[in-house]
């Protein structure tokens, strides 16, 4: 047996979680208040965990780098949250949600974890409604659902295009109630900079007060890391500017294994980069692909003319357009999964057909949808001989009703009217499926240290389905962690308060202060962003949507060079005292520079194409699927859990074999 024990309970998959809950230890209510739990990150996973743990009676300390838990990037999720409620009577079930998630993850997730996720999904909706989350409703007053991300049932609950916001505000309100009662001590504008281990167990953290610059020690009987994903290793992503890997990376360096770092989701419908000034990318809901047709010109002269502003896309005749998704995937067309759509866009742009100044954009055209809807609506309104202008007006009305807010957002950012000229889109890094390795109890390989939400690796395998991120975050925080953490804490009731004036805390604090001082004292010539952008470029070009051996090796080499240069030549203005955003950024980028290398190393190790990870070496060589991604279950049906050895490039690989007893493995096909 490897060092990785996933602790998956025995028994049939349907009974594992129930049996496990029945058998694990619980902490007596009177003892709970004597036990401290630190929660780092207060998004959906951390916020819901902090609230639930405090409700149960634990003394919780919660940390957020923003000024309030309500700012966490969970807030930006638009589409919705899945739950196997079967309210629409379309045959949905726990098993079907489980099956879809495992299949969508390209068979690289742990069956038992996913089944549990599907099992508690319904409870999440009940809980959120009870909290006053205003989900969309039908006229009868019952909850509305929509279908999302190409699945065959309608199981997605939503609150306009702001589902993440509403769910986060729900968790935030639950936290507020506990903060008001003094059960949660909230440390906002605080950043965790290290975990403190005592006798091998996680016993606290070192955090920096971002306003005063003071380094603080906080002790606890358990530490929960819910600090989100690390998509910002690409510099440009749809993540928030502050989203970072630091908390996860610090525990990794103290012994928590990092699993599948290379699994990244790249979302196909983002607004393209407009120039080098760009600081982040904006996502537009995937639902746009239901009505938009994706194309580029089929000859390079037109592309050139467009880029020079001599030609407008609307002037290009049908026969000069290449609707490449419809061409390559006649069965699914524009609705192929995210990874397939993203790679196809990259393929066209790499071939020189990108339609904006940066060469990284394709068209998403609503003209035929406007025509189709316009004719329909004309008929419905009794106008049997509509003029072309009338058809256009009717059609635009329908599109406006469906996507009005997205079109408005696009127009604000790009300054083009998407009703009149096709939108431009390009893929962008959106979510990271990889993360801290955890067992079935969500405990990392450090005893007493847990990871929840996007920060862990567990549920999405190599690719995440739409509307599943919110589900996982809340499942972990509301319904999994509060139970499983008791199993560990039951042994801690005699520990008593943990002192912070111990050599372990001294050492950890010193290490943190030394690093900060070192960053300030380099006094080099280039800004933090300079290095972050360079890292991002390498990641995007070599470790992005399509990866190959030579590119990955080159990336590893280049990232090491950038890292070395960073530690010699970065300029961090100001001091360690007081508010210093550049210092915060420097610490985060330093961690990204290490993670980036491990990321590439993992991608190099996994010589198969699965989900969001595409290796050019691993494609179907002939037949109908020629050129498509080829998964290699024989050699790569494992979770790659990396152990820190002092150097990202020399990390040690541990493999957790994945067993599939309830699902048959199949290759995906969208032809």
């Amino acid at each position: 047996m490897s060092v990785l024990d996933a602790k998956i309970p025995e028994g049939p998959i349907k009974e594992k979680w129930t049996n496990h809950k029945n058998n694990i230890n619980v902490v007596n209510p009177a003892n709970k208040r004597l036990i401290d739990v630190i929660v780092v990150g207060t998004g959906l996973a951390g916020g819901s965990a902090a609230a639930s743990l405090a409700e149960m009676g634990y003394s919780v300390k919660a940390f957020a780098y923003q000024d309030s838990p309500r700012r966490a990037h969970s807030i930006a999720a638009q589409g919705g949250i899945n739950a196997a409620k079967n309210y629409q009577n379309d045959g949905d079930s726990i098993y079907r949600l489980f099956y879809d998630t495992v299949k969508g993850g390209d068979y690289r997730s742990r069956e038992a974890n996913v089944y549990r996720l599907a099992e508690v999904s319904g409870n999440i909706i009940d809980q959120c409604v009870a909290q006053g989350v205003p989900f969309a409703r039908e006229y009868g007053g019952l909850l509305d659902n929509r279908s999302f991300g190409g699945v065959l049932v309608s199981r997605t609950f939503y609150a306009k295009g702001q589902t993440g916001q509403q769910l986060l505000l729900g968790a935030y309100s639950a936290m507020n109630r506990q903060i008001g009662k003094g059960k949660i001590q909230m440390f906002s504008r605080h950043e965790m900079l290290d975990v403190v281990k005592v006798d091998g167990k996680a016993r606290g953290i070192i955090a920096r007060d971002l306003v005063t610059g003071k380094i603080e020690r906080h002790s606890a009987h358990a530490v929960v890391i819910a600090s989100g994903g690390y998509g910002n290793v690409f510099f440009l992503s749809t993540n928030a500017m502050g989203s970072n890997v630091t908390a996860a990376w610090k525990i990794h360096k103290k012994g928590a294994y990092f699993a599948n770092p290379c699994y990244t989701q790249i979302h196909p419908t983002c607004i393209p980069r407009s120039g080098d000034h760009q600081s982040k990318l904006t996502l537009m809901s995937e639902s746009l692909r239901n009505d938009g047709r994706i194309w580029v010109p089929n000859n390079l002269d037109d592309v050139k003319a467009i880029r020079e502003g001599k030609l407008t896309p609307t002037a290009i005749p049908e026969e000069s357009r290449d609707y490449y998704l419809e061409r390559r995937y006649p069965a699914f067309g524009n609705l192929v999964p995210r990874d397939v759509a993203s790679r196809a866009a990259k393929e066209r742009c790499d071939a020189g057909f990108g339609v904006n100044g940066t060469g990284e954009a394709v068209y998403l055209d609503f003209k035929s949808a406007i025509q189709r809807y316009g004719k329909e609506k004309a008929l419905v309104t009794g106008n049997h001989n509509p003029t072309d202008t009338e058809v256009l007006e009717y059609g635009e009305e329908v599109i406006k009703a469906k996507y009005g807010n997205l079109f408005q957002m696009y127009e604000k950012i790009v300054d083009q009217n998407p009703y009149k000229t096709p939108m431009m889109i390009y893929p962008a890094v959106h979510y990271t499926m990889g993360g801290i390795w955890v067992d079935y109890n969500l405990m990392t390989s450090i005893p007493g240290c847990y990871a929840a939400g996007e920060a862990n690796f567990s549920e999405h395998g190599a690719n995440r389905l739409g509307a599943s991120a919110l589900m996982q975050g809340l499942a972990d925080g509301y319904f999994v962690l509060p139970y499983t953490i008791g199993d560990y804490l039951a042994d801690e009731i005699r520990t008593g308060p943990i002192p912070t004036d111990t050599p372990e805390f001294d050492a950890a604090e010193k290490e943190v202060s030394d690093t900060l001082n070192k960053l300030i004292n380099i006094k080099g010539t280039k800004s933090v962003d300079h290095f972050h952008k360079r890292l991002g470029k390498v990641m995007w070009n070599n470790v992005g949507m399509a990866r190959n051996e030579s590119g990955l090796k080159e990336a590893i080499k280049t990232i090491r060079e950038i890292r070395e240069e960073f530690w010699k030549d970065v300029r961090v203005p100001g001091t360690t005292q007081g508010l210093n955003t550049e210092l915060e950024k420097a610490g985060r980028v330093a961690d990204f520079l290490e993670l980036g290398e491990l990321f590439a190393l993992d991608a190099l190790d996994r010589n198969e194409s699965c989900g969001g990870h595409f290796r050019e070496e691993s494609v179907e060589l002939d037949g109908e699927q020629k050129g498509e991604a080829k998964r290699d279950d024989k050699n790569y049906k494992y979770v790659a859990a990396w152990e820190w050895t002092g150097d990202a490039g020399k990390s040690k690989l541990h493999k957790e074999k994945l067993e599939f007893n309830d699902i048959e493995l199949k290759q995906r096909s969208y032809k």
């Binding site: 319904g122 909290q131 006053g132 205003p134 409703r137 009868g140 909850l143 760009q278 300054d415």
Partner: protein
């Protein structure tokens, strides 16, 4: 499509070392700003320039840069989130400004939002108002009633959603001549008052939240309507009227 001619701007920016220091307006020049960049990306360019000159960059709050987290602020040319409507500062684009223009950038100003440094302010007063009652007292459990057990009319659900859209950025306070937080508080009170789940604590909620709002030192609403205009999410003034009504009803009929 905007013309791609880069812009040069003069910036007048509030600089303040920390909470205790007094601050002042300082002039800066930025050149070569793309009209397609966002206002915060323009600030990034300014800061890159300052860092390369060895000066301290301007601190400002921001995070998601897509208009939903509510972190970004800035009072630009006398308006919260700048001259554009229904956007946050991160969604404001430089094409809304003219080449050569002088742009004044200040932090949110309110006694309840003290400046931390430069353009960053402390909005924890909003959190404390929420902690006073901005929640429904329901513990996490797998046994709450089924989500569809209590139907809610679509009208009320949609209206609650409109109120819940608030991102807590504080533009309403910043723009209000009285630095009043009533749009923010009103939106939260309204959301819960429209939902069946919110009924049990309806009275204490509004009384407690208003009490905390007053304690924080926000001003009083005089119905100028400026908050509604500047709110990036278009939260309606009606929410304040609803809060007033809720408050009156609660003060008259409260049990103890």
């Amino acid at each position: 499509m905007s013309t791609n001619k880069d812009m040069n701007l003069i910036l007048k920016i509030w600089r303040q070392k920390d909470q205790k220091s007094s601050g002042k307006m300082v002039d800066y020049k930025v050149n070569g700003i793309s009209p397609d960049s966002s206002f915060l990306e323009m600030m990034d360019v300014l800061n890159e320039g300052l860092i390369s000159k060895g000066e301290e960059p301007v601190e400002f709050d921001h995070d998601c840069r897509e208009g939903i987290c509510g972190m970004c602020s800035l009072y630009i040319n006398g308006e919260a989130h700048g001259p554009d409507r229904a956007v946050t500062t991160c969604q404001l684009h430089m094409r809304k400004f003219k080449d050569g223009e002088t742009v004044t950038i200040e932090p949110w100003r309110a006694k309840a939002f003290p400046v931390l440094k430069d353009l960053k302010v402390d909005r924890s007063s909003f959190d404390r108002i929420q902690q006073a009652g901005g929640f429904i007292s329901v513990n996490t459990s797998g046994n709450t009633q089924d989500a569809n057990a209590t139907p809610i009319s679509k009208y009320n659900a949609d209206k609650a959603m409109d109120a819940a859209t608030c991102i807590g950025c504080g533009a309403c306070v910043a723009t209000c001549k009285n630095a009043s937080a009533m749009l923010f508080v009103g939106a939260k009170v309204t959301q819960y008052s429209l939902l069946p789940q919110g009924q049990v604590e309806r009275k204490e909620r509004v009384l407690n939240m208003v009490k905390q709002m007053d304690l924080e030192g926000f001003g009083n609403c005089t119905n100028t309507g400026a908050c509604e205009v500047e709110c990036p999410k278009g939260i309606s003034l009606e929410n304040i009227a609803i809060m007033n009504r809720e408050y009156l009803k609660a003060s008259i009929t409260k049990e103890d």
